[in-house]
Every structure is written in C-alpha cells, then in structure tokens.
C-alpha cells in the first residue's frame, strides 16, 4: 500500500511542492491519530483532503500550523517541509509558522470586536502598525473575501452582527490580510447555504493564483469542482493521493472508490 502511494507520488514529482509531508505520525497522548502520512501540497494549487469522519483530516491540517502545540500531550513524528524547512522541528517557532500559514476554521470564530479590527489583528500581531497600510490591507482582504460591498459602510460595527456566512467570509479575510503563503481551510462551507458556499468557492479559485490552498471537505462535489489534487484518508492513513480527476475516475483502492461514489462515509 505504501508502495502504491509512492508510485502515485512519483508520477507527480514534476510538481513544485509548497509543502511536503514525510512519514508523519501524530499522537493525541497515547492514541495515534495519523500513521505514516506522506503528501505533497503543490504550490498555487488547491489540494483537497477527503475521507470519512474521524479519519484524521482535521488532525493533519492542524499539523501544518502547529496548532497541536497548544495542548499538552500531543506529539509529532516525521517531517512537514515548508519550502524545504521542517516546521515540526523543535527549534522552529510555531508563531513564525503561523504567520506564514493561516487557517480558517470549520465554525466561524470572529473576535467580538469591530469588523475592521478583526481583519487588522493579524497585521498588528506582526508589528505592521502603519495606518495607511492596515487600511489598505483591510480593504483588499475584504474585497478578496467578497465581503467589502456588504460591510464597507460599517467597518466599526461588531463582527458578531454579521450573518453566519458573512462571519465566515470575514474569517477568510482575516486569514488573507497577512498575505500568507499557505491557507488551511477546515470544512469552511459546512455551515453555509449554497449561495454563500459558491461565493467562497469562487473566492478560492481566484486565490490560488497567489497562494497555496489545503482544504478539508466532506462534499465530493466541492472537492471535484474546486481542487486540483485530492488526498483520500482512511483511519489515520493516507490511502491515496492524486490529481483530482484521476482520483475520482480511476481510484486505486476499493475504499476510495466506495467513498467517492458515496457508498460510505
């Protein structure tokens, strides 16, 4: 099985990888949640992570910005190379990683502050305090997140007065403001209606001109529409990774086929 993954990887070897996962194991205390994960995240492409509930998609995603460091007892083994530097190494500062790799969570989690402050916070944390620059970035990010027209007259209002879909787009704008190199999306549209979902999908297709995107999704249609590459995870393992069209049309494994055809999960 490991062999097959590596053959499918070697057929992708001409890709320019932004990030590369090598033999990653991850443990929540004593329980192992990820087993020998190998994955390439190609630069300026959308890579989707799919798989049945509980297979470890969120866990893998949160390794990319060292979110697991926040809780005691979590342990990584192996490597995640971001531009050829292993970000899982102890001497790498997780804060430095998070400044380059931003994240949009499954449920919108705006700060109970103004819309403007929400988007500006990442810049402030990085010490970029020039007013003009912040104003500019806030507007640009809100435009990219297709939210500007709706909120431009009430930037000082509380972000909590926005609708759920608007809040999620605000969280995307917040993640964009610092111009990250890699953005992690954890089922960003699972709480949204079809219209908000499609506007966020459009947004991602545009974003991939500039940034690398790694997205967890439960929707096969979304993975098929949106992603260039898809990785199928199963029980903590990376079962299959390929171009999205190949993975959906000629899956190598029975489990992959069953899953993408909607027979389980």
């Amino acid at each position: 099985m490991v062999e097959k993954v590596s053959t499918s990887l070697s057929s992708l070897s001409m890709l320019q990888p932004k990030a590369e996962v090598r033999n990653l194991n991850f443990y929540y205390g004593a329980t192992q949640a990820l087993k020998q994960i190998n994955l390439v995240v190609p630069e300026k492409r959308v890579t989707a992570l799919i798989g049945p509930s509980g297979c470890g998609k969120t866990t893998l995603l949160r390794c990319f910005n060292r979110m697991h460091d926040l809780y005691p007892g979590n342990r990584y083994e192996g490597e995640i190379l971001l531009d050829r530097i292993n970000i899982l190494e102890r001497r790498v500062d997780p804060i430095a990683v998070r400044m380059r790799v931003s994240m949009v969570f499954q449920r919108p989690n705006p700060f109970p502050k103004s819309i403007y402050e929400n988007v500006a916070y990442g810049l402030r944390v990085q010490g970029l305090l020039k007013r003009d620059f912040i104003d500019h970035q806030v507007e640009q990010s809100l435009r990219s997140a297709a939210l500007w027209d709706e909120v431009k007259d009430r930037l000082k209002d509380s972000a909590l007065n926005l609708s759920g879909g608007q809040q999620q787009r605000l969280c995307i704008a917040r993640a964009l403001a610092t111009e990250p190199e890699l953005i992690l999306f954890d089922e960003p549209t699972s709480a949204l209606d079809p219209i908000a979902t499609s506007s966020i999908e459009d947004l991602m297709s545009q974003l991939k001109q500039q940034v690398t995107i790694l997205i967890v999704t439960h929707s096969m249609q979304q993975a098929a529409r949106l992603s260039d590459y898809t990785a199928f995870m199963y029980l903590g393992e990376m079962l299959e990774f390929n171009q999205t069209t190949t993975l959906f049309n000629q899956p190598l494994h029975q489990q992959t086929e069953d899953y993408v055809r909607g027979r389980f999960g």
Partner: protein, 312 residues
C-alpha cells in the same frame, strides 16, 4: 369546545399534561417574583430608613469634622478618609495580584494535581471568617513585618481577604471565553501573552470587574479584622497628604498612619447611650452605602471603557 370533545383520548391526555406544565411554570414564576419583591423591598426599606434617619445630619460639617463627644460637633472626616485610603490600598494590591493569579491558574498553569490543590484551597479561602484574616495580619504584617497599626496593614489585610474572590471570579470569567477565540488568535500568530492581553482579558473584563466590586464592597464594610489589627475608634487627625507642596511632591507617609474606618466609627456611635449618636450612626451608614454605590458606578464606567473595543 366541540374540537376538544371530538379529540381522541390520548390527545386529551397530552393537553392535560400541557396545562399541568403551564401551571407549574406559572407557579414558579409567581413564587420567584414574590421572593425577589420581598427581598428588594426589605432591603430598600432598610436603606431608606437609614437614609431618612440620618438625613438631618448629612451636612458639610458632618463630613469635615473629627469625632467628638458632643454629638452636634462629631463628624466622620477621619473615618471616610480612612475608608477611602484603605480601599485604595486594598484595590491596588488585590486587583493586580488576583487577576494575575487567575490568569496564571487558568491560562498558564498545567492542569495537574498541584493546580487542583491550589484551586481547592483558593475556593476554601473565600469562605474563611474575616476575623481569622485579622489574626493572621496581626501576627504577620504587624508583629513580623513591623508595619504597625497602619493604613498599609489594613489595606493588606483586606486585600488578602478579598483575593480569593477576585481570583475565583477571574478564573470563571476566563473560562467562559470560548476556546475557538483563543485558537483564532493563535492561528494569526499571536503569542500567549498577546492572546490574553488583546482578547481574553478584554472579553472577560466585565465579569472580572463584577468580581472585583463584590470583593471591594465586602471589604469596605469589614470591621472585625481591622479592630483585630488595632484600628483606632477615636482619631482626631488626618494622615499626611499624599501630595506635598515641595519636592518630591508625592509622599507615601500616609501608608504608615493610624486610621479608623466608617464601619468602626458607626459601631462606636451605635454603642453610645445618647440617642443623638444613633442618628450620627445612621448618617455614617448612609455615607457608607453611598461610597459602595460610587464604587459600583466607577466599575460600570470602567467596564464601559474596557469594552469600547469589545463588541459582544
């Protein structure tokens, strides 16, 4: 009612249980309302009675005179200044220490048997009778540290007394902030300190302030521990002013001055045989309540200031 008549029997049973539940609901609401009304009315009546009784004595002279054996000349100058200064010291010590301890315990300390032990102890400390703190302070601040029977000793004692309240409410306020907000801040590259200072603390500040005010309101009425450490009951001079006309302009000598506080003054007057002094006591009580309300008002103002950037 024709509909009800023709309804099947099990639906009738459902309707029966619904109306029973509505009855329970209604009963509880009435009982609750009555309890609240009785409690507030009694409280209001007590306060009003105190205010009406003391009102004739609430003159400028009352606030600017030292105690005296003549009831017309007696005033609360030393007492209200003493109370104010002691509260200042108490707040200056208990608020930063208590909030810092709460932040440490909630956000920094590892959750293990040690932190559990500390938690149990802090919660229990909140229930220790105040006179015990007075004895502790007498032994520690007074005898061991030689701080004397001073405003500083009193402030430290009351700070100790309310520290557990501040710590516990700070922890509860922090715990009420959803974890997703912490993760949102971290994901943008915030350090733990930035996460706390920029987010968690402002979001929790309202509840923390409420705890601080509960603590200070308790402290301002305390008598027993202050008598234990040797507060005076009759004092006819003021502590040295904190601001001096000559260099270095600010003086901390007042911290070492002897003092009295409003509740002690009240107690002293109540125990006098002359009925006129009862009126003085009522007036002093009114001032005490006024000071508590003023503290509350200040807290509401602060809460508003803190929350300007926070929009729940």
């Amino acid at each position: 009612m024709a509909q009800t008549d023709s309804a099947p029997p099990d639906l009738l049973a459902v309707q029966g249980s619904v109306s029973q539940r509505q009855l329970q609901d209604g009963l509880f609401a009435i009982v609750g309302l009555l309890t609240i009304l009785v409690a507030t009315i009694i409280l209001l009546a007590l306060v009003l009675q105190l205010a009406i009784q003391g009102f004739p004595r609430l003159t400028w002279q009352f606030f600017t005179s030292f105690p005296s054996s003549e009831w017309q000349q007696a005033g609360i100058l030393s007492a209200w200044i003493g109370s104010a200064l002691v509260m200042l010291v108490t707040a200056a010590i208990a608020v930063p220490l208590g909030v810092a301890a709460g932040i440490y315990l909630e956000e920094y300390a590892r959750k293990n048997w040690l932190s559990a032990l500390i938690e149990i102890n802090v919660t229990n400390l909140a229930g220790v009778p105040s006179i015990v703190y007075g004895l502790l302070a007498l032994g520690f601040f007074n005898d061991l540290l030689k701080l004397g029977e001073s405003i500083l000793t009193a402030g430290l004692t009351l700070a100790l007394l309310i520290l557990p309240i501040v710590i516990v409410t700070t922890r509860e306020a922090l715990r009420a902030i959803p974890n997703s907000l912490r993760e949102a801040a971290y994901a943008l590259g915030a350090s733990r300190w930035q996460m706390i200072w920029d987010h968690i603390l402002p979001y929790a500040s309202g509840s923390i302030l409420t705890g601080v005010i509960i603590g200070l309101s308790r402290a301002i009425g305390e008598t027993a521990p202050l008598i234990t450490i040797g507060a005076l009951t009759f004092i006819a001079f003021l502590p040295p002013a904190p601001i001096q006309p000559s260099f270095p302009y600010i003086s901390l000598e007042w911290l070492q001055a002897p003092f009295t506080v409003l509740p002690i003054q009240m107690f002293n007057w109540v125990s006098r045989p002359e009925p006129e002094f009862q009126i003085n006591a009522a007036a002093a009580g009114t001032v005490l309540i006024g000071m508590t309300l003023a503290m509350n008002g200040f807290a509401i103002y602060l809460r508003y200031r803190f929350r300007r950037g926070v929009k729940w």
